[in-house]
Structure formats: structure tokens, C-alpha cells
């Protein structure tokens, strides 16, 4: 699925004069933000699917710990998707679909290889060590290789330059490098499955001292993280400079679409929060490879032997450095999603967003606060009451901007002329789902109740509610919404509705019982899902229910995948460049936008971003660049 229907127009730049860049410069090593955005989108979706597959395997172990895994069924799904996308690709003559089919076939092959390996699945039962690896890699892949590249690299890259009226990102070559460094980081992470001892198995949080003494996969994980962090840092510089410097004439900050604001703040979070994790990764690598003891205390006893290291280190130091990033990271996960939902809601209510200024100030305040709440992940580390009170207070304060944003989005529906398009369905569902996610965060933010809930399934339920029927729903909304601008065709609404309702029901089926299990005290990261614990017996029956919901969720993604690839060539053609009748600048371009985005020169902006329900001749909206 390429962003240009024909060969791109000659590149006119000040550095070289290439009349017709070849295949590699156009589609692989492109410096056009739209191509790079698609690259991020496809790679991110593939990693999302891989992370999802790991969890589907884990859920068999949790539901049926004594039954051999029917490996064929877990191979059938990626194999089916591989077949679908390859066939569609061949029929429609789209190379990318065939390539994606190949990658899915690779995922199917990887699953088959692992499930058939007697040492990993003796008599078909997953080894505990493998379960731990899957758990750690599921988290890592979903957060760092799936959602963030999709939300920021994919949507951010494609849409932000268009929405600010720029011909491209400020640093196109740096943009390309960001993508390829991410790609290399992803490949490095994948290779960790094949090293002796398997992939990292100390959780996505890599707590020391366990991670220090873990198998080789942990070193590969750390190396992969260095690449991914570098990619994010380079990307965030690009985003900020683009938004500050390349705004079109008349586009003041308070006229920016909320999506751009959300990406702007996200970029600052990435820029300033990731380096401490990079430092921590360097320190852990030194511990693992150079024999230092940054995170190893003196006299640490492992397997009855005192560890022969210089000691004096602090395991808690890792936690502080890790969570200093990882808390802002969760706002990186949610802010772009809120941005997408805001765009879709404004467009499908035919009203301006309610409280635009509140939204912007709340989002900025959220970004700032996100740096001073991190130790609410560490309430159980023995901190004194002064510190825990501080972090508890800041955590309660940070819920205020989140609520403001959610409230503004909900009030934006009031009095609207709501069009229940597929993007709108996902955006609407985002609101209550994010609400549940946010509300379930409150008992975790209070240190007193966190004593009972820390490291239980309640935490897993809480954050999955925010990320899965929260962020991922927003990403789906974004895909259905911007698909016609990228391809000139609409995705099928019928298949979209099946995808939506199925996903909504199944996601609740997976994550709601986790809240129940967590309240009963079932710990997270348990290989047997709580079976060995007396206090868990009353809620164990939910394991099977959750697993079945997960497998059904997988099945219900198939209509989406079919829809996605089929519609690229065979979807209903759009009648105009602006099929959703939207006000923002990305819709005031040719479809798809050419190299340089605005064919007739960069636009001038005269209004705010959501001039809906304004009298404008036969239209009920006024685009930003129309006087």
C-alpha cells in the first residue's frame, strides 16, 4: 500500500537534483514523512500482532495448565492472516501486502518452531521459563515496538506535518534514520528469542538484581532498548522542531488541532524521560558485562552463595531510573490516542471541541506532572510516609487533567449531530473504557490501598483497560479515519462494525475479570495463574473465560486485516479529497498528498481547527485554510 499512486514527482531540493529516485529511495529509504509514517504503521502493526500472539500462547497455559497446547491452532491464525494478506496482495498487485503476508508467515513459523520444540514445550506444556520470557517480551514488544511506534511514529509522522501545513518534517533524513534505528532495535529484540536461555525473562521492567543475573537474552534486551531509545530521541527532536518552526502562516499555537498538541507534549516526554532509562540500561549492561555492581548490593546471596562482586550497589536505583521514564511513557501511550479521539469526535459531531483551551492546558499540565509521580510504582519498596505521601499527592493531582480531558471530550458530544461512522464508534468507546482504566488507577495511586493491590492482576487489568480498549481503540479509529486520505478509498463500514463490536466485547471479557482476580489477591506474572494459592481458588475459573475472550479477540481482528488490505485497491473510492468533511489541513490536500504535501504551495491559516457548524454556503464547516 504505497502513498503515491504513480511515480513521485521529481525531487527538488537544495542538496541534490534527482529526477527520479529509484525503488529503494522511494519506498525503502525514503525521506518523505508519509512513506516513513506508513513504514512505522506497518512495522508497528506487525509487532503488535506478534506481542498479541505471545499472549495468546500464554493464555493457554493459564486456562489449561495440564493440557498439551494444540500448537496447530496457534499457528493457524497467523498463517491464515499471512494467506489473506498475501492473496489480496497478489490479486490487487500490491507488493506491500505480499511482504506483510511473508512476515505473518514468519510469525506463524516462529510459533510452530517454538511449540514443536520439546525442550520449550515438553509434552506440549509450556515451561515456566518460557512463560516468563513470553511475559517479558509481550510487554516490551507491545509498548516499545508496537503502540509507541504506531501512535507517534506512524500517526504522528504522517499527520503532523500535514496538520501544521508543512511540506515535510523539519529533518527528513533524521526521520528516516529514526525509523531504521527502530527497525534494527526491533530485529535485535527478536533475535533474543534465539539466544541460549531464550529471550529476556525478568519482566518488561527488568528489575535488578534478578535482571543482572538473568540469561543472555537480557543483554540482548538492553541492547535493543538502546536502539529504540535512540530512535525515539531523534524522532522527538524532529517533532518538536516541526511543530514550532514549520507551522504555516496564521497557524498560531492555539489554532493547532488537539492532535498536534498531544504529539507535541508526547515528544517532550520522550525527549526528557527516555535518557534516564538509557543511562540505566548502560549501567545494567556494565553490571552484566563488565562486572560492576551498580545494582548489586554487598553480600547478595544467590543459590546459597554470596555473589563475588564488589557490591555496594542499589537495586532500588534501577527502579527509580526505570520508572522515571516508564511513568511518562504511559502518557506517551495515551496522549496521541486522546489526540486522535479529539479529531474524530469533533469531525463526527459537526461541532467544535468543547473547552479547547482546557484541553490544551490540561494536556500541558499532564505532561509536566508526569515527571513527578513515578514512585507510585514503588510504594511497596519500603519508602517512608513522607515520600509516599508526596507521590500519592502528585498522583492524585495528575488525575485532574486526565479527567478534564475526558470530560471535555464527553461534553463535546452534547448537542452534536453525531455520525456513527466506524472511527466514531471506536472514539466513543474509548471514552468509557479510558474512564474505567483511569478510575481503576485510583486505588493504585493511594499507597494504603496499593498495599493490597500492588503486583496483582488488578494492576494488569487497570493498565490494559487504558492501553487496549483505550489507546488501541483510538489507533483503530485513526486507521479507519485517515485511511481515505492515504489511499483514496474507504474501508468497508460493515467489516469495521464487526471488528468494533467484537473487539469491544472481547476486550472487556479479557480485562474485567482481571480486576476481580486482582482484588482477590492473585499475583501477576504467575506461571500457573494462581492455581497453587488457596486465596485464589475462588476466582480461578475466570482464567478460562479470559483466555477464550482473548482467542475470540484474535479471530475478530481478521475482518480488520481483510478490510485493511482489500480496501487499499478495492475499497469504495472517495468522491472528494475531504470525504469526512473535516476542517483540519491534512484534508485540504490532494489524495494522497504528493511529495511536498501542498501541491499549490503551503497554505495560509485563517481559523481555529474546529470550525464546524459555521455557516459556509452549502457546507456546515470551514476548513482552516479557507478565509
Amino acid at each position: 500500500m504505497q502513498p503515491v499512486a504513480t511515480a513521485p514527482p521529481p525531487v527538488e531540493s537544495t542538496h541534490h537534483h534527482e529526477e527520479h529516485p529509484g525503488f529503494w529511495r522511494t519506498y525503502v529509504f525514503s525521506i518523505d514523512h508519509k512513506v516513513i509514517g506508513i513504514q512505522y504503521l506497518m512495522t508497528g502493526l506487525l509487532f503488535l500482532f506478534l506481542g498479541f500472539t505471545l499472549m495468546l500462547l500464554m493464555r493457554w497455559q493459564l486456562a489449561y495448565p495440564t493440557k498439551a497446547i494444540p500448537g496447530e491452532w496457534f499457528v493457524v491464525l497467523p498463517a491464515a492472516v499471512a494467506l489473506i494478506s498475501a492473496v489480496i496482495g497478489l490479486v490487487n498487485k500490491r507488493k506491500l501486502a505480499v511482504l506483510v503476508g511473508g512476515v505473518f508467515a514468519g510469525i506463524a513459523g516462529l510459533v510452530w518452531y517454538m511449540v514443536s520444540d520439546e525442550t520449550l514445550f515438553p509434552q506440549g506444556i509450556m515451561l515456566p521459563e518460557l512463560y516468563n520470557s513470553f511475559g517479558a517480551m509481550h510487554g516490551t514488544i507491545m509498548v516499545f515496538l508496537g503502540v509507541v511506534p504506531l501512535a507517534v511514529g506512524g500517526f504522528g509522522n504522517y499527520v503532523v506535518p500535514l496538520q501544521v501545513g508543512a511540506p515535510d518534517m523539519a529533518f527528513p533524513k533524521l526521520n528516516m534514520m529514526s525509523y531504521w534505528v527502530y527497525f534494527v532495535g526491533g530485529v535485535v529484540m527478536l533475535t533474543s528469542f534465539f539466544v541460549p536461555g531464550g529471550a529476556a525473562n525478568s519482566g518488561w521492567t527488568s528489575y535488578t538484581p534478578l535482571a543482572n543475573i538473568a540469561t543472555m537474552g537480557q543483554t540482548v534486551w538492553l541492547t535493543g532498548m538502546v536502539f529504540l531509545i535512540t530512535s525515539s530521541l531523534l524522532g522527538s527532536v524532529n517533532f518538536i522542531v516541526t511543530i514550532v518552526q514549520l507551522r504555516a502562516k496564521g497557524l498560531s499555537f492555539m489554532r493547532l488541532p488537539f492532535f498536534v498538541w498531544s504529539q507535541f507534549i508526547t515528544a517532550f516526554l520522550l525527549l526528557l524521560a527516555f535518557p534516564p532509562l538509557e543511562a540505566a540500561a548502560v549501567l545494567q549492561l556494565m553490571d552484566r558485562l563488565a562486572g560492576t555492581s551498580f545494582f548489586l548490593p554487598s553480600g547478595l546471596v544467590i543459590s546459597g552463595q554470596v555473589l563475588d562482586v564488589s557490591g555496594g550497589g542499589s537495586p532500588l536505583l534501577w527502579q527509580h531510573l526505570f520508572w522515571f521514564l516508564a511513568h511518562p511513557e504511559v502518557y506517551v501511550l495515551i496522549l496521541p490516542a486522546m489526540g486522535i479521539v479529539a479529531e474524530v469526535i469533533a469531525n463526527n459531531t459537526r461541532r467544535p471541541l468543547w473547552g479547547y483551551k482546557s484541553l490544551v492546558y490540561a494536556a500541558v499540565f499532564l505532561g509536566f506532572m508526569s515527571f513527578i509521580v513515578w514512585a507510585h510504582h514503588m510504594f511497596m519498596t519500603g519508602m517512608g510516609t513522607v515520600i509516599s505521601t508526596f507521590f500519592q499527592t502528585t498522583t492524585m493531582i495528575i488525575s485532574i487533567p486526565s479527567v478534564i480531558i475526558l470530560t471535555a471530550l464527553v461534553i463535546s458530544l452534547w448537542g452534536g449531530s453525531i455520525r456513527f461512522t466506524v472511527p466514531m464508534l471506536f472514539a466513543l468507546a474509548f471514552l468509557p473504557m479510558f474512564g474505567i482504566g483511569g478510575l481503576t488507577g485510583l486505588p493504585l495511586g493511594f499507597s494504603a490501598t496499593d498495599i493490597h493491590l500492588h503486583d496483582t492482576y488488578y494492576v494488569i487489568g487497570h493498565f490494559h483497560y487504558v492501553v487496549a480498549p483505550g489507546t488501541i481503540f483510538a489507533l483503530f479509529a485513526g486507521i479507519y479515519y485517515w485511511f481515505p486520505k492515504v489511499t483514496g478509498r474507504m474501508m468497508s463500514p460493515a467489516l469495521g462494525k464487526v471488528h468494533f463490536w467484537g473487539s469491544l466485547v472481547c476486550m472487556n471479557g479479557i480485562f474485567f475479570p482481571m480486576l476481580i482476580q486482582g482484588l482477590a489477591g492473585v499475583s501477576r506474572r504467575l506461571y500457573d495463574g494462581g492455581a497453587q494459592y488457596a486465596h485464589a481458588q475462588g476466582v480461578l475459573q475466570w482464567n478460562e473465560f479470559m483466555s477464550v475472550s482473548a482467542w475470540l479477540l484474535a479471530v475478530v481482528q481478521i475482518p480488520f486485516i481483510i478490510n485493511f488490505f482489500w480496501s487499499v485497491k478495492k475499497g469504495k473510492r472517495v468522491e472528494s479529497d475531504n470525504p469526512w468533511e473535516a476542517t483540519t489541513l491534512e484534508w485540504q490536500t490532494p489524495t494522497p498528498p504528493p511529495h511536498g504535501n501542498f501541491a499549490g504551495g503551503v497554505p495560509e491559516v485563517y481559523h481555529g481547527p474546529y470550525e464546524y457548524s459555521t455557516p459556509n454556503g452549502s457546507k456546515d464547516y470551514t476548513p482552516q485554510n479557507v478565509a
Binding site: F274, A280, V309
Partner: protein, 196 residues
């Protein structure tokens, strides 16, 4: 297709793109070294005993390195100033000096590390040396990066002067900002590691 404000400054911000870019990058570098310094503070405060850097490390050599780096920052500014007055030959000379100073720094560092290694002292020795090697090592990597960039601008990259002098001058300014930052980190590292 031209990206606006690559060379000329944007009126309302007063910046050209790469200047804003480098300041943002330097902000992230502040966070990186800040995290390392914070870790050092945490570990040192918690330690029952911690040696004085002056007892274990070569202070005169490090002082020499400080002079070298500060000098290289001066020559870096001079190379940019030479371009501002359109004197390309002077630019080459000053940039060459900056690169030489960079190498000089690395050579001195090499002596320091070598002396430690030959006495069997490695990062695994204790936390003091772990911190010393890691902090100076990461700083050294940043010096190497800076040398590579400066060497590119002294050599093949300097061809841009003929075609786009203003853009090239901006590039040197931006590289200079990075180089000053590397110098600044050392100015913090030196007293913290060697003197305190």
C-alpha cells in the same frame, strides 16, 4: 520542495531549525548525564565509605584535559567566528585545532585508563571505579562522536561552504553548541570525580 527555516531564522522564534533541534538534543543529554550524576550521588551518599578521587586518580592529567577541552571550545567558537567573517582558511585552521584538542583529550584519557588497567584496576574493582569508568567512558564516547562530526565538517562536509555558506555556518554553530556541551559535562565531571 524546500523545508522552510533551514537556513533563515523563523521570525517569531528567532531560530533556524537545527538550532532549536540541537538545544532540544542537548536537553536530552542533560537528562542523560543528569541521571548518571544522580545515580552517583545516590550511591556515594549511601556508601559507608568512599575514596577521595584525588587519592586514586591522576588529578594533574585530568586538569590538563580540562584545559585542553576548554581550549578546544575556544577554538570551536573561533572557527565559527571565522566563517562569520567569511575567512574559510582561518576556519579550517581553528576547526583543525579543535579536532586535535579532541584527540589530545582522548590520548590523555588513554594514558589514564591504561595506567589503571596495567595495575589490574577495572570497573569491576569497586563502585568508585565503576562510576569513574562509566561516567568518563560515556563522556569519552560523546567526545569521539563530536570529533567525527567536526572532522566531517573540516573535510568532506566543508564543500558546502562554496555552495551554501550561510547554511554551512549554521552547521558549525550547531556543532559548536554540541561541543560546548561536551566540554561542560567534563567541567562537571572533573571536580566531582577527581577533586571531591
Amino acid at each position: 520542495m524546500q523545508i522552510p527555516y533551514t537556513v533563515a531564522a523563523r521570525p517569531d522564534t528567532g531560530l533556524h531549525n537545527s538550532k532549536l533541534g540541537i538545544w532540544l538534543f542537548l536537553a536530552s543529554e542533560v537528562m542523560l548525564f543528569g541521571a548518571l550524576f544522580s545515580s552517583y550521588i545516590l550511591l556515594r551518599v549511601a556508601a559507608p565509605e568512599w575514596p577521595h578521587g584525588s587519592a586514586l586518580l591522576n588529578v594533574p592529567l585530568a586538569f590538563l584535559n580540562t584545559i585542553i577541552l576548554i581550549g578546544s571550545s575556544v577554538t570551536m567558537v573561533m572557527s565559527w567566528a571565522s566563517l562569520m567573517v567569511k575567512d574559510f582558511a582561518k576556519y579550517k585552521r581553528y576547526m583543525g585545532l579543535t579536532i586535535l584538542c579532541g584527540f589530545g583529550f582522548l590520548v590523555v584519557k588513554g594514558f589514564e585508563y591504561g595506567a589503571k588497567f596495567s595495575h589490574g584496576i577495572f570497573p569491576s574493582e569497586d563502585l568508585f571505579y565503576a562510576t569513574y569508568f562509566t561516567l568518563t567512558g560515556l563522556h569519552g564516547l560523546h567526545v569521539i562522536g563530536g570529533i567525527i562530526v567536526n572532522a566531517y565538517f573540516w573535510g568532506p562536509g566543508s564543500k558546502m561552504w562554496a555552495r551554501e555558506p550561510e547554511r554551512f555556518t549554521n552547521r558549525i554553530e550547531v556543532a559548536g553548541l554540541y561541543w560546548h556541551f561536551v566540554d561542560l559535562v567534563w567541567i562537571f565531571l572533573f571536580p566531582v570525580l577527581y577533586l571531591l
